[in-house]
Symmetry: C2
Subunit: 362 residues, 2 copies
């Protein structure tokens, strides 16, 4: 699949030089957008031969001005800035502790290729197919599946999984420190309409044109009362909007190899408010209803921000601030993705490199 | 698991003597209820050593009297009579062209054991777990899964899958005669609340105490305008009722080896009305709502029968007849499962054999 002009890879910082080396066979044809999550004075080294642009906090401030406050600092949630400045149709985002996994036959898994397959084939949110993704080779819709639903709907999100270290919360990490995910489940499936899921940002593909403005990773990290809920927030919002607009969300393959567990004590500190807040947030998203007039993602998202402010402010004043940031995010997205956006971005990233640069040409 | 006193195996006829021989290591500890689907003058041979009771059409007529008309004739839908006369908590039902499958390591799959595991562990219908069944060994709930939902709900149905011949409708069989299911997906998952699925009766376990009265396989076969929708009908009704009563439905493992495809031309003749009817039936079941007062399966089912008569009669007068049969089924179920039920059944099956009989004692 020669989608290199249609997909950007967004990475929230790179601490590990091996990371890009390992992915080189799969990532090198694509453009990378690296969004440095921490201290902008530190330098991220990118191995030669990659085509990339790198944004640090100073760049984000310069590009977004006052609206930069909607982008998290010292947290991987900052990756959503990369979604905003991309000009491509598809995004793949991955964490720097995620390596190439092997399938049961021992072959390296090309995660990107599987995400693209997932995004290019339809989803089936209105009725469950017991043989999983009916569009995969060697399978189909089973007896009893309505023929009128067999065209499916356009897929907006492809949620990939993790071998080795599973994506557990701090309490589960603490209770089961030695648990490793060794089960390779050879399936892709649609998450049904009306069903929410915990979307993990470690290994995630999406159609930026369809759902990009809903992929806001919220206010986390520095100065915020919560962390590790950035992808969850994006997942709840995006799923509700996909359901409303008639887009599909798939989960399952591809797997990446999640190399190391983050510190459960640090995680607990970041998460603990989320752990009780989610008991109210999830019922809110399960009940939320968007008016028919909301026919664009931006419009849906602004409406959602309103309802967040209205209904979740009682949980914590943080949600009023978050609701304002949601609106700010959409403003910034609209600016940058307008015809004048190019001007805003002209002096954007602090570091740019392309494969055709002398350093990378050998 | 020594559940032999809690589970019956229900088989709608046995044409193939190899069938029980193949399953002997797994089935012999259990009691079998065989419901002969066709001509009662024909004799079904059961190999020695099995503990079973066999009902043919004459037996069904004798036991149910006028109410016997709710049980299909010359169709495997008759199996539900076996559900009704069982006295056990769990049922496993399987077709006689389903053999023991092998897992990827080459080991024989004990389908029954996996169904029991599925039925004894909870389901998670209110939120999607991306690592599939969180109660399986080596896995858990992922980050972002609400803790208040981690107890899950009681599982009522365990829907198993098929390697080799997939369960396709006649049009798909005709278009893809050579397609075989070779993909072993190592997963069990809950079908979310509010989502319907095509329930196949080939390899199915359920908790008879929780959902038995909803497992009516409808009016199919002899004298009826439709076939091959018996399990679908039971699936739609049972899922709607499970959702209403707060029970879970799981699908995935175990696999059986489905040995031969049924004739697609014969299937097309049986199915063709269902293929267009389902376009109206499924939206009906998607929208159906049961009143809060319906707190038992029987009550839910009678209410569903009313709504079927009311809403689907316009599709075809068959549905008014089916609605009457649904009520008759519940009447018969209640009779047989009442304290007086033993008397009704006293002279029930035409053939009974137990492992302790001389023929089986060697």
């Amino acid at each position: 699949m020669a989608l290199k002009d249609e997909l950007d890879i967004v990475i929230p910082t790179i601490r590990n030089l091996d990371f890009l080396e390992m992915w080189r066979p799969f990532f090198q044809p694509y453009h990378l957008i690296i969004v440095q999550d921490g201290d902008p004075s530190k330098t991220i080294k990118v191995p030669e031969g990659f085509d990339y642009e790198l944004y640090n906090r100073n760049d984000i401030n310069r590009v977004l001005g006052a609206k930069a406050s909607c982008i998290s600092f010292k947290d991987s949630a900052c990756r959503c800035f990369g979604f905003m400045v991309s000009k491509k149709k598809y995004i793949y985002t991955i964490d720097d502790d995620c390596f190439v996994a092997k399938d049961p036959s021992g072959k390296d898994i090309n995660a990107l290729e599987q995400h693209i397959k997932n995004l290019l084939s339809p989803s089936t949110p209105y009725f469950f197919n017991t043989l999983y993704d009916p569009y995969r080779e060697g399978t189909d819709f089973v007896r009893g599946y309505p023929f009128s639903l067999r065209e499916g709907v356009t897929t907006a999100i492809s949620h990939g999984l993790w071998l080795n270290i599973p994506d557990y919360d701090a309490p589960t990490q603490l209770v089961k420190p030695a648990e490793r995910n060794t089960r390779y489940v050879d399936a892709v499936m649609t998450i049904p309409k009306g069903t929410l899921f915990p979307m993990c940002g470690m290994n995630l593909g999406f159609n930026r044109e369809l759902i990009g403005p809903a992929m806001y990773f919220g206010l986390m990290g520095d100065g915020q009362p919560i962390g590790r809920y950035d992808d969850m927030w994006a997942g709840w919002c995006a799923k509700v909007i996909c359901d409303h607009l008639g887009y599909g969300v798939k989960t399952g393959l591809p797997y990446i190899w999640h190399s190391k567990a983050s510190n459960p004590f640090v995680n607990l500190k970041k998460e603990y408010k989320g752990i009780f807040w989610q008991e109210e947030i999830i019922p809110f998203f399960q009940k939320v209803s968007l008016p028919k007039e909301c026919t664009t993602v931006e419009h849906c998202y602004i409406e959602l921000a309103k309802q967040v402010k209205d209904k979740l402010n009682g949980v914590d004043p943080y949600f009023a601030k978050l609701a304002d940031a949601m609106v700010q995010w959409i403003d910034a997205w609209s600016d940058i993705n307008s015809p004048e956006g190019a001007k805003i971005l002209a002096n954007g990233p602090s570091k740019v490199s392309s494969r055709s640069s002398p350093a990378a040409s050998k």
